[in-house]
Symmetry: C2
Subunit: 266 residues, 2 copies
């Protein structure tokens, strides 16, 4: 059945409440669901290994885009709803006309699968836009695994998912991973730990090691001592002008480019 | 007179209205004033070449910080006001207790001062946080001049100033600069124009030329044809994984690092 034959319907009160409850972390985990917003992220999710439970499309969206989604999504859980209702379930001020729900997919252990390194460890990252941009950048450089310390922003926060521009569905995100736990899991398999901090080595001079983890502290507090102490090497981006620090996402991008792209000519 | 002898006073209705009006672009330019918010940005502004007109400090701020500001700022235009009033004049949800007004300082022409290159040209940048982060990053790499095309976000937007983390006061920002105008001003002085776009050269392979301008298009539209056509070289960050594009600030950071830091080992 082509999508233009689907009837526009009103969301039930219960369904609308459930969708709006997913704006909050607690409800996301109690329902094991998260929101995916926007045309491109929803298409990326449908084509990925994530399970997309339902898709909600505004009756204002063009037939062309409606059909693109319909052609890719094999489930029946596709619903044309009124624009006014879509605005209510969306977290965006000007939603793009598509919202979907996906199943939360918590990755726990990679210690049996070290071929998917290098990975990134982020300590107490709290800005959702920053995390989303880092995931997008990491994916560009072929990073498969991103580990988040406890007390980091929830990776299933809709702002994180959106800021990744679809890359969210191409990486594995491991949340609530204490550094010591990761270290103990991987160190006896000869994984190398690098940390970004002050007074370290210029990453442009570094050869990338496949079996490595790159650790980044928070923008306000840097990388904590207990992580630095266990690191094999400390990396610092040299300063050529003025400033106290770089934005965390920028630092991650520069270091990844230096050791992955820059190593082409080393 | 030490600052703890200054009396806390109520802002007049007129003064409060003027300060709040600076949240809007039109009023900033009609008054030739902009807001500087937060302890560090205000201290940086006071120590820079910018003219800081007045400083407003919350009565809740610690004596230590009050005295730090008072010791640096030689003018009499320093005012202790009530916290509730400071919240009204600030654009931040949780202001840091200090707001200042600075004089807008529009840089027009650098064609007589080419020693302050390389510079950056940004075409239709519209996100204030992104622009602020780019200014912060450019300053880290010693860039002195940043040019903005017409239809870019106002660089004196309080969100831009804040996101630069003080770097705002260390660079010259030239707004409303059409590319052709900049090109005509500088090309006959042998300035080289680089543009970031698809299908270009890897910036890691590039030697930085002092007398150059690096041009960046917008994240959604890329770099327009008329800029690419006049560029001496196109630069592209190679992709090693998955993604359609990188965030604009990340791209600027990676390219600056590649050609400035990376050229150390070329």
């Amino acid at each position: 059945m082509p999508i233009n034959k689907l009837k526009t319907y009103y969301l039930s009160k219960n369904e609308s409440q459930l969708l709006r409850s997913l704006h909050r972390k607690k409800e996301r985990y109690s329902n094991n669901l998260f929101l995916i917003e926007g045309i491109k992220p929803v298409l990326e999710a449908v084509e990925s290994n994530f399970t997309v439970k339902s898709i909600y499309i505004s009756d204002h969206l063009s037939e062309h885009v409606k059909n693109e989604i319909f052609n890719l999504y094999s489930s029946n859980n596709i619903n044309i709803i009124r624009e006014s209702e879509l605005r209510q379930i969306s977290t965006m001020k000007t939603p793009e006309g598509v919202v979907a729900t996906g199943e939360i997919n918590l990755k726990i252990d990679i210690s049996n699968n070290l071929k998917d390194l290098p990975g990134i460890y982020l300590w107490k990252i709290n800005d959702p836009g920053n995390l989303g941009t880092i995931i997008r950048t990491a994916s560009w450089y072929g990073i498969k695994n991103i580990f988040l310390s406890p007390d980091s922003v929830d990776p299933y926060n809709p702002k994180v998912v959106r800021a990744t521009m679809g890359a969210f569905f191409h990486v594995n995100i491991h949340k609530d991973k204490a550094f010591d736990e990761l270290y103990n899991d991987l160190k006896n398999q000869n994984v190398i730990f690098y940390s970004a901090d002050l007074n370290g080595e210029n990453p442009e001079m570094l050869q990338l090691k496949q079996n490595s983890i790159l650790c980044f502290g928070s923008e306000s507090h840097g990388t904590p001592e207990y992580i630095l102490n266990k690191s094999d090497k400390i990396l610092s981006i040299p300063k050529f002008g003025y400033g106290e620090s770089l934005n965390l996402g920028i630092s991650v991008g520069i270091i990844l480019n230096s050791i992955i792209n820059g190593s082409l000519k080393k």
